[in-house]
Amino acid sequence: MPSYTIEELIQLKPSETLSVDFDAVEFKAIIEKVKQVQALKEEEYNATHHGHFNRRRSSHLHHGKPKVKQHKPKVTTDENGWSTFETKTNEEGDSENNSDSNTSNGNSAGFTPTISKETVKVKPNNRHISSSRPADNSDIITDKQVHGFNTFAALVSDDEDDE
């Protein structure tokens, strides 16, 4: 079996470029085209990713301030043609005043409950559900011991009994 060492084969390398029996020009052209397409794709990728490769998802990227929907102040026009802005704070203040006056008068028929126009989503704080900590902060106040044992008061009362 014919065998040649690396050195022997290198010695047989012609100094001039020989011709081949396949279309080498077309083969090179295909490779060049692939390189161009790859370069174009990389450019597009850089443009869409703003040059950041393999960037990890940021925990604060899309979590800015929560979006609170502010209702537009209601404008009412009276008989005289005066327009009045009725803001939320005014409404609350008015309703409180009204309710106070209603209760003081004892007139329950004129009571109009205030309905909040904002949608409030209540989320339980799941973090504390399984722990011994109260899920709701208001529970801390509820569970708080109100009546403590007053040693001095107890002593005083005993003395009185003895007398």
């Binding site: 079996m1 014919p2 065998s3 040649y4 060492t5 690396i6 022997e8 084969l9 290198i10 047989l12 390398k13 012609p14 100094s15 001039e16 470029t17 020989l18 011709s19 081949v20 029996d21 396949f22 080498a24 083969f27 090179k28 295909i30 490779i31 692939v34 390189k35 397409v37 790859q38 794709k41």
Partner: protein
């Protein structure tokens, strides 16, 4: 003999036109070609630029060669490894063996694999040395264990793979040791043999390591 005498003798030498021309005496019209042990086929895997392209569309035979002169002609006319786009592969396989695990000649074999980190200029030289060792049959002198050789251009590091027809440890260890020399690897350079039967297992461990 003086230099003048040598020059005089050279002038008197007449070239016998009947002497067959080799590639060394005549680059273009040479008669003598140096035959290789077998015919070899050069394959190329084109990187996919369109999702509709399948593996069979991308892997194509480029040309075949049977002599040293034909081999050099091909090398001179194709892009060097460093000029190839990412995800390209060059395959040089014996006879008509397809560079696929499914080919009957490959199905019971495996590959010696080495990953060259970075896209250095070494790749051209190492690929040429690998080819010369394979087609010159010096890497596998005893019996033809080698089916082909593959170069994969990848972002993480270019891969060299020597495909064999069996998983026999003894002859493969000899081939691996020679392949290590061809790739100019030191003791730190790790050469791993993976059987094709474990090719689908991503976490497959090499059966031989050198």
């Amino acid at each position: 003999m003086s230099v003048e005498e040598v020059s005089q003798k050279l002038e008197n030498v007449t070239v016998n036109d009947n002497t067959p021309k080799t590639v060394l005496s005549d680059n273009k019209e040479f008669d003598v070609k140096h035959p290789l042990n077998t015919k070899w086929t050069l394959w190329y895997t084109k990187p996919a630029v369109d999702k509709s392209e399948s593996w069979s569309d991308l892997l194509r035979p480029v040309t075949t060669f049977e002599t040293v002169e034909e081999f050099w002609a091909i090398i001179q006319n194709i892009p060097e490894p460093h000029e190839l786009p990412l995800k390209s592969d060059y395959h040089v396989f014996r006879n008509d063996i397809r560079p696929e695990w499914e080919d009957e000649a490959n199905s019971k074999g495996g590959k010696w694999s080495f990953q060259l980190k970075g896209r250095g200029s070494d790749i051209d030289e190492l690929w040429l040395r690998t080819l010369l060792a394979v087609i010159g049959e010096t890497i596998d002198e005893e019996d033809s264990q080698i089916n082909g050789v593959v170069l994969s251009i990848r972002k993480g590091g270019n891969k060299f793979a020597l495909w064999t027809k069996s998983e026999d440890k003894e002859p493969l260890t000899k081939i691996g040791a020679k392949f290590k020399n061809v790739l100019k690897l030191t003791e730190d350079g790790l050469l791993e043999f993976y059987p094709h039967s474990a090719a689908n297992d991503r976490h497959a461990q090499p059966s031989i390591t050198l």
